[in-house]
């Protein structure tokens, strides 16, 4: 099928939100370097951060092929209101409980998203989705192991994680904010859409968390924290970007 302007616009919107999520969460996860609860977790979070930033780069490169600016310019010169990331990924790392729960929620969604995109008609996207599916398997495995062992660890660890689940759930649902192009993406065979993704995600994470002994807020009555996909962000994103672009902005034309 021939892509219309709307299809291309929808595809770019999809790619931007994926890449922005990956970049911003990768950036956040890298903040654990040197500060983790045990050295092994510093290393794990850093390794996931590298994967995420690397994956974001690959998606910005696809955008570049579609006529957008080069990855460095796109990542290092936009303002917060030009970012399409979800609010979930932009929040500060907080304590380990929040970072772990965010990692659990996000990576399961991302794994399913890439799974869905492994059959997209957009060839370069299909290729990266197939590749990233393999990498992300380790991220969800890591999250699952930790969620489980902290459920079984101590009363405190279980309570902390449970609280973090309760506090993070609406933000997690915010990842599935529908775009203005859901119908176009579906009809063109680009992506089955946020609603399908959300259902698949709920079917995965809810039973999993319950099997660990946690309870999960009711998705039908939780109001998702939308806005991020449309450029409306929390107060935390702009300072993150100011920091991220601090050196680059000294001379964006220079080779660093």
């Amino acid at each position: 099928m021939e892509f219309t302007d709307k299809h291309v616009q929808g595809l770019k919107d999809l790619l931007y939100k994926m890449a922005d999520d990956l970049l911003i969460l990768g950036h956040r996860n890298s903040e654990w370097t040197g500060l983790g609860p045990i050295l092994e977790e510093d290393i794990a979070f850093s390794s996931m951060a590298q994967d995420k930033v690397g994956q974001s780069l690959a998606i910005y490169e696809i955008l570049n092929q579609l006529g957008e600016s080069d990855p460095d310019t796109v990542a290092f010169t936009r303002n917060a209101n030009q970012f399409h990331c979800s609010k979930l990924v932009e929040l500060p790392i907080g304590e380990y409980d929040f970072s772990l729960v965010r990692h659990f929620f996000y990576d399961h969604a991302d794994a399913i998203r890439f799974e869905m995109l492994a059959t997209t008609v957009v060839e370069p996207l299909q290729m990266v989705a197939k590749k990233f599916k393999g990498e992300i398997k380790y991220h969800t495995m890591h999250a699952d192991v930790w969620m489980k062992q902290l459920a079984e660890g101590s009363d405190e660890s279980k309570m902390r994680i449970q609280n973090a689940i309760n506090e993070t759930f609406a933000l997690a649902l915010g990842m599935f904010e529908p775009s203005d192009f859901e119908a176009e993406l579906q009809e063109a065979g680009i992506f089955d859409g946020e609603f399908v993704l959300r259902e698949k995600w709920l079917n995965k994470v809810v039973p999993l968390l319950e099997s660990f002994g946690y309870s999960v807020p009711d998705a039908t009555t939780t109001i998702p924290e939308f806005g991020g996909r449309k450029g409306q962000h929390t107060e935390y994103l702009q300072p993150l970007l100011d920091e991220m672009t601090e050196v680059f902005a000294i001379d964006p034309g220079a080779d660093w």
């Binding site: 950036h27 890298s30 903040e31 370097t33 040197g34 500060l35 983790g36 609860p37 045990i38 050295l39 092994e40 977790e41 510093d42 290393i43 850093s46 390794s47 951060a49 590298q50 930033v53 690397g54 780069l57 990855p71 460095d72 990542a75 290092f76 304590e95 380990y96 062992q149 902290l150 660890g153 101590s154 405190e156 660890s157 902390r160 993150l240 920091e243 991220m244 601090e246 050196v247 680059f248 000294i250 001379d251 220079a254 080779d255 660093w256």
Partner: protein, 330 residues
């Protein structure tokens, strides 16, 4: 990353290091080392050997972990994807080095937890260089190039030492350090050949870091305590001045080649002796910094302490009462 010259013998005269040891066992031990054998954890060793090695491996491990902090603050500011990804990987390696070295030290019976406690309580030391701030992006470049280069000189020498687990850890570490060095060098080259602003940044950073780099290898041989026994035991593998000289010989020409200058008008190679001559760095400053009065000592330990405190509930949750602590064997 680690520097030389942190060995202490508590001011004891050298011959007292072995005074309580069984002379027959000691002779056999020294003969093994002289023959190039590696000492393994279960082997007999003099008490002082064990003590110095624990101290050395522990300080080295702490240096890796604390060393991740000044560079780590630049991960979130690295300009562009290439640098961001490379710096993340580099600092992650350093944490991995810490992990490896704590395990090596644990083979001699001190647990990681004890070592961490001694670090955050200020009881054990780590390399002085990490008590200086990394003020600009160029500082992180200079660190990655020259501090890692210094560390390689030191670690390569130590990897030929006598304690098996430490040598094996160092061999792995050195392989990774050579990538750090390449990354750092590439980074400095880009700045040194870049815009006037970039050039000024890197020159500035170099000026700031020169004294800490000169300090890195430890006090001049004239000032440092006698270490013959430790050298015979292959705990200490080279004199501080020799290591410094080796470093200067390898890197000063490269620095000058980039059109950068060093803030010591007396720095030159004496072609007759083949040795570098320089203005003696201020060792009083070195002592001040190592004793906790450097520009960042308090901040570094505070960050580390906070990380330990914040993570306590996680570590507690992982502890199973039925599991007893076991020293790793190699």
């Amino acid at each position: 990353m680690y520097g030389n010259g942190y060995i202490e013998n508590d001011g004891k005269p050298v011959n007292s290091l072995t005074v309580n040891e069984d002379p027959i066992k000691l002779a056999a031990f020294e003969a093994r080392i002289a023959a190039g054998d590696k000492i393994e954890p279960q082997d007999w060793m003099p008490a002082e050997y064990k003590k110095q090695l624990i101290r050395m491996m522990e300080q080295h491990a702490h240096s890796e972990i604390i060393g991740a902090l000044p560079e780590g603050t630049w991960i979130t500011r690295a300009p562009g994807f290439r640098r961001k990804l490379a710096l993340m990987a580099k600092v992650q390696d350093e944490i991995g080095h810490g992990q490896l070295l704590y395990s090596a030290a644990e083979t001699l019976g001190k647990s990681r937890e004890q070592m961490t406690n001694d670090l955050i309580n200020g009881k054990s030391k780590y390399s002085n260089v990490f008590n200086y701030p990394a003020k600009t992006w160029a500082d992180s470049a200079v660190i990655a190039w020259l501090i890692d280069a210094g560390a390689i000189v030191n670690q390569l020498a130590n990897s030929k030492g006598s304690y098996g687990p430490y040598c094996r850890a160092l061999e792995r570490i050195c392989a990774e350090e050579s990538f750090h060095l390449k990354y750092g060098h590439d980074n400095v080259v880009f700045l040194a050949t870049g815009t006037p602003v970039q050039r000024a940044m890197v020159q500035d950073a170099l000026n700031r870091w020169w004294e800490p780099i000169m300090h890195f290898f430890g006090p001049s041989d004239k000032e440092s305590i006698h270490t013959e026994t430790l050298m015979r035991w292959k705990v200490k593998m080279g004199s501080n001045d020799d290591m410094r000289n080796m470093f200067l010989d390898m890197y000063v020409p490269k620095i000058w080649d980039l059109g950068l200058t060093l803030p010591d008008p007396n720095l030159h190679k004496n072609e007759e002796t083949g040795r570098w001559e320089y203005t003696e760095p201020n060792w009083e400053v070195f002592k001040q910094v190592i004793n906790g009065n450097g520009p960042c000592n308090k901040e570094r330990l505070a960050v580390r302490r906070k990380a330990e405190e914040n993570g306590r509930w996680v570590r507690k949750a992982l502890m199973k009462p039925e599991e007893k602590y076991v020293n790793p064997l190699a």
